[in-house]
Symmetry: C2
DNA sequence: ACTCCTTGCAAGTAACTACTTACTTGTAGC
DNA sequence: GCTACAAGTAAGTAGTTACTTGCAAGGAGT
């Protein structure tokens, strides 16, 4: 049986399992539920015609999501490198784009946070293929676009602060429905961008930045 | 039998269940495991002498952790209000204290992120008793200690950025073991504090960028 | 027709799930 | 010793879990 709605059964199983894993967690989602959500008869082992195990289904979904994510990341990198807008507007656009991306990939992010600790090889893929690349892209963007005459800074650390801040705003909103401190997206991004702009302009000689490692070796590190 | 090692069975059940829930998730932890971890005979229903259900055990653990957390919060508030150190040192101390607190309550935070979405009444307690209070405390501290002559700002939003940034740094380190971007705690806190200090001092970093730029349509912040 | 292969379902499997019941134990007060 | 009671255990309960097996329906190619 092939002409079922236009999407293959395998693709439907992956998509629905990611949705259910994201909502209920891996352990809290049964194979029967996944089958039923994908249009199969729940309780029959039809899932095992397409995947050898529940874990293999999770693995396939994670890997597929990551390959899609890197394609999206490549496009973002290209767009960011070509951007010529003023700093504040560019940072705001990046922050908004990051939030939209977090929302778009909410199931993947939920699974990453909730359950991926139990699957170390998937964790490793997510780290090297997705998260580390995003950090490197933002850090590189900062170095290229914000170093107008000022001294060099710890771009990787600044990128980590920015990404972490936006990611946690999404996470709290995802968990609680609304942000527990009742700060909406507009105020949040404005406050973040204000701080980043001020920090990048920063030639305030008030107290010197502690330089433990001026330019650590986390960009362009060796791959195995 | 009461004097068993110094801790009551009920307390041991709560502590071990929080540890296991944090590591494996609520659905991924069995009553049998909890009993065995608490020194009881796993598989016997001994847990039900102390709690009517697995969910009641989770609820008791969450509530107990929150009451302990608020006591700790009160002490932090008092210490912060009395502090008279320079801004940068105070902010650094707050950031470090926040990270230590996140690590100390790692099981609670893991459960909050992983499983509490399925228990809305516990989510609500955590939001109002813990998270909202922390945000209010930091926002109040900023308003009191950082408004030296400068104009008023959106303190709640700035506090949210700071807290979210630190929380996400802890979360990523907790999930991956080490931070996926290889930024250590020292560099991270330095970068964050630099940005906050510059943003708070910012009667220059903000005003010289905002007026002429064609900003996107998301700049209209409200202050509370 | 034939074989080969895929995809589905019904009906299982053994193991595990949260939870219960009946009973034993240790300890305390009188 | 006797009672009272909290706390532990063994051995269940009925239901659920991931996963398997037998079989049928349908193509595709020959």
């Amino acid at each position: 049986m092939s002409p079922a709605g236009g999407s293959s059964t395998r693709a439907r199983l992956i998509a629905e399992s990611m949705r259910l894993f994201g909502r209920q967690g891996y352990a809290g989602t049964t194979v029967s539920e996944i089958e039923a959500a994908a249009g199969l008869s729940g309780g029959s082992g039809s899932l095992y015609r397409h995947f050898p195990s529940k874990e293999a289904l999770l693995s396939a979904g994670i890997r597929e999501q990551i390959t899609q994510g890197t394609e999206l990341l490549n496009r973002i990198e290209a767009a960011g490198a070509a951007a010529d807008a003023p700093l504040r507007a560019s940072l705001t656009a990046i922050a908004v784009a990051g939030l939209r991306r977090l929302e778009q990939e909410q199931d993947f992010n939920r699974i990453l946070v909730k359950d991926l600790s139990l699957f170390p090889e998937l964790l490793d893929i997510a780290r090297t293929e997705e998260i580390a690349r995003i950090h490197a892209a933002i850090a590189g963007w900062l170095r290229a676009h914000a170093a107008s005459g000022s001294e060099s800074k710890d771009w990787a650390a600044i990128a980590t602060v920015i990404i972490g801040s936006i990611s946690h705003f999404w996470l709290l909103r995802d968990i609680f429905g609304t942000h527990p401190a009742d700060v909406d997206e507009e105020r949040y991004i404005t406050a973040l961008v204000d701080m980043v702009v001020a920090g990048l302009a920063g030639n305030e000689g008030e107290t010197d930045v502690s330089p433990p490692e001026p330019e650590p070796n986390n960009i362009a590190r060796t791959k195995e």
